[in-house]
């Protein structure tokens, strides 16, 4: 792992205009950096804007504002030809392998496409490489002749992964790659992804709502809520010393199969809020048990908790002059006690 930044996201914003002049702030000014060979997880509930980030970062949809750099090159001004060449460097594994594979293409055709279009390989070389790819992802050469509907969910996702790594990108965006898979094959696919990361020196931008999986896969975690990053830091830090109430609630909601672990039982009221025309306030207002009047007056910025660990909650961090006391009431998350 080096400090070379594969992906830099700077004040990225995606706003969808709605009927009646209202605006849906799907992604509302986020900053992220992903280093070579690293796995950065982006976690959050459905509707938090995770997948929109993934699509903006690859310009599958056009960002409203902000900048995205992939291997140092800004992707915003690229025309369609330059964009096609960018996709040699960044690839995506989609959530539902059922929907991300063209039902009319055999596995062979799926794998030949990036080799032909990105690498301009002649047919015999493509075939050799396609064979190597299916074996690399744990399928047999016989699978090359199959169509998606003849494969199981896990096999389809392996094809999706093989397609993503075919043109040898250094950044792969994993958009909930195991969310639509059976639990029984989830572990195999995750193990495959880790192996490929090691062997091919890939950086992963891992989008997920599955915390145990994130803990297993990620080097760093960014927690997203209603279009904002509310907390970001090394995986162990985030899971053992979560600072933001939302992160704490998210971790508290995940089941733990371990006896005698005392848990941080912070709970949020209600459901995820609306990203339509958000007010200039903390987005957790109305749900947070630690809420103070100051939470409603300004959007909190990310504050440093520890080295590389930031959270957007002045209340728990005790950095609000009048409200320092409430941070002390905060029960210590006690994963470490086990």
């Amino acid at each position: 792992m080096s400090d070379y930044a594969v992906l830099q996201v700077d004040k990225l914003r995606k706003i969808f205009p709605l009927a009646g002049g209202r605006r849906l702030h799907a992604v509302d000014g986020i900053d992220l950096t992903l280093h070579a060979g690293e796995t950065l997880a982006l976690v959050g509930e459905s509707g938090s804007g995770k997948s929109t980030v993934a699509r903006c970062v690859t310009r599958l949809i056009e960002p409203t504002a902000g900048d995205v750099r992939i291997n140092g090159r800004s992707i915003r001004p690229l025309d369609s030809v330059a964009l096609a060449s960018l996709y040699r460097e960044v690839q995506m594994v989609f959530q539902d392998p059922n929907a991300s594979l063209n039902p009319r293409l055999s596995v062979r055709q799926v794998l030949h496409e990036p080799l032909r279009l990105h690498l301009a390989m002649p047919r015999d070389k493509r075939e050799a490489r396609a064979r190597a790819l299916v074996e690399l992802v744990g399928l047999a050469p016989a699978h090359l002749d199959r169509y998606p509907h003849e494969l199981s969910g896990g096999q389809r996702q392996r094809v999706g992964i093989a397609r993503a790594i075919a043109a040898e990108p250094n950044l792969v965006i994993l958009d909930e790659p195991t969310a639509s898979l059976d639990v029984s094959v989830r572990g195999q696919v995750l193990a495959l992804l880790r192996r490929l990361q090691r062997e091919l020196k890939l950086a992963y931008f891992f989008i997920s709502h599955d915390l145990p999986v994130v803990r297993h896969m990620a080097d760093r975690v960014a927690v997203m809520y209603l279009g904002r990053i509310v907390e970001i830091g090394p995986t162990a830090e985030i899971f053992e010393r979560p600072a933001h109430p939302y992160t704490r609630a998210l971790i508290a909601a995940a089941p733990i199969a371990q006896w005698g672990v005392k848990r941080d039982r912070l709970r949020l009221a209600g459901e995820i809020g609306s990203p339509v025309d958000p007010p200039d306030a903390c987005r957790l207002v109305g749900r947070c048990p630690l809420e103070q009047p100051s939470c409603r007056t300004a959007e909190p910025a990310l504050l440093t908790v520890a080295n590389g660990h930031q959270a957007a909650c002045p209340i728990t961090l005790g950095q609000s002059a009048t409200l320092g006391q409430s941070a002390l009431d905060r029960p210590m998350p006690s994963q470490t006690a086990a």
């Binding site: 995506m92 539902d96 009319r104 509907h149």
Partner: protein, 298 residues
């Protein structure tokens, strides 16, 4: 004995007894029959049309090859008309006109309409609005009225009829292809296709079009039946081709007075020919809609 064998047998037995399996088998059988009958009838029409280029029992355009109003019999199998022309020869030659015009017009409408529809559906925005409003203007007129107006304006002739018929078909193909492509435009496999290096037009025409073409192809046969009917209607109204042309609509018109006096065969056989052709197209349409579903392949 291999330990796996009984298990495999069990799976097969289960699959066979599942209600879904029987229904699907029955359905496929029925459809393959409509395919066979449709293709069979059209095969006869195509054969007759091609044969008539080289050989007909009598000269289809010559009057007086027999007496007037001869009923179907040994010398003239389908009888003769008022001018004493052989009806069978005229009917055979008519296949060239009716089938030829239909097939060419459908092919042109299918090609242009689908291309425009894919463009409208994939690119959306202004392109979509302009194309859609454009074809809506044509669709505001009923098909036959529109055809009559245009043919009246540009004059009769096979080429003109083909152009008019194609134009009438284009809006339907455009709308169908547009709707299908639009529904798939943001599917992950379209996004994936872009990420493996396809340009936008490649995604639209190489990835989305093949998955969208099923309903469009199924519509071709319905469109063909429609075109055949309108072509015959124009002929019947005396707008399509010169009056002596052995086009089926023309022939029905020529025999319509005779029906009153008992010479039914002059209008009946061309009518039957039109019915057979349109029927065959409908049968095919039914079958094609099923064939183009990729999950049914293999």
């Amino acid at each position: 004995m291999k330990p796996l064998a009984p298990l495999e047998g069990l799976e097969l037995a289960e699959a066979a007894s599942a209600p879904g399996a029987t229904i699907r088998t029955r359905r496929r059988l029925r459809l393959s029959w409509s395919m066979r009958i449709g293709l069979g009838i059209l095969g006869v029409y195509v054969t007759v049309a091609m044969l008539s280029v080289f050989w007909t029992p009598y000269d289809p355009l010559a009057p007086g090859v027999g007496d007037s109003f001869l009923p179907p019999g040994q010398d003239f199998w389908l009888g003769t008309d008022r001018l004493g022309s052989d009806l069978l020869s005229r009917l055979m030659t008519g296949a060239q006109y009716d089938l030829g015009i239909t097939l060419v017009a459908v092919a042109v409408a299918l090609t242009l309409g689908t291309i425009l529809g894919v463009i409208a559906g994939y690119y959306g925005g202004v392109v979509d609005v302009v194309l859609l409003r454009g074809v809506e203007m044509f669709q505001a007129f009923p098909g036959l009225l529109f055809a009559m107006l245009i043919v009246k304006a540009v004059g009769p002739g096979v080429l003109n009829i083909i152009v008019v018929m194609s134009f009438i078909g284009i809006p339907d193909y455009l709308r169908l292809a547009r709707a299908e492509v639009q529904a798939r435009r943001n599917w992950p496999y379209a996004e994936a296709a872009r990420m493996v290096g396809n340009r936008a037009w490649q995604v639209a025409f190489l990835h989305l079009l093949p998955n969208s073409i099923g309903p469009v192809l199924a519509f071709t046969s319905i469109n063909a039946a429609f075109v055949a009917l309108i072509t015959a209607s124009l002929g019947f109204l005396g707008l399509g081709l010169s009056p002596n042309t052995p086009e089926w609509g023309n022939m029905i018109a020529r025999g319509q007075d005779a029906v009153m006096t008992g010479e039914w065969w002059i209008s009946f056989f061309p009518g039957l020919a039109i019915l057979g052709m349109t029927g065959a197209f409908y049968l095919l349409g039914d079958a094609i809609s099923d064939l183009t579903d990729p999950r049914r392949r293999r």
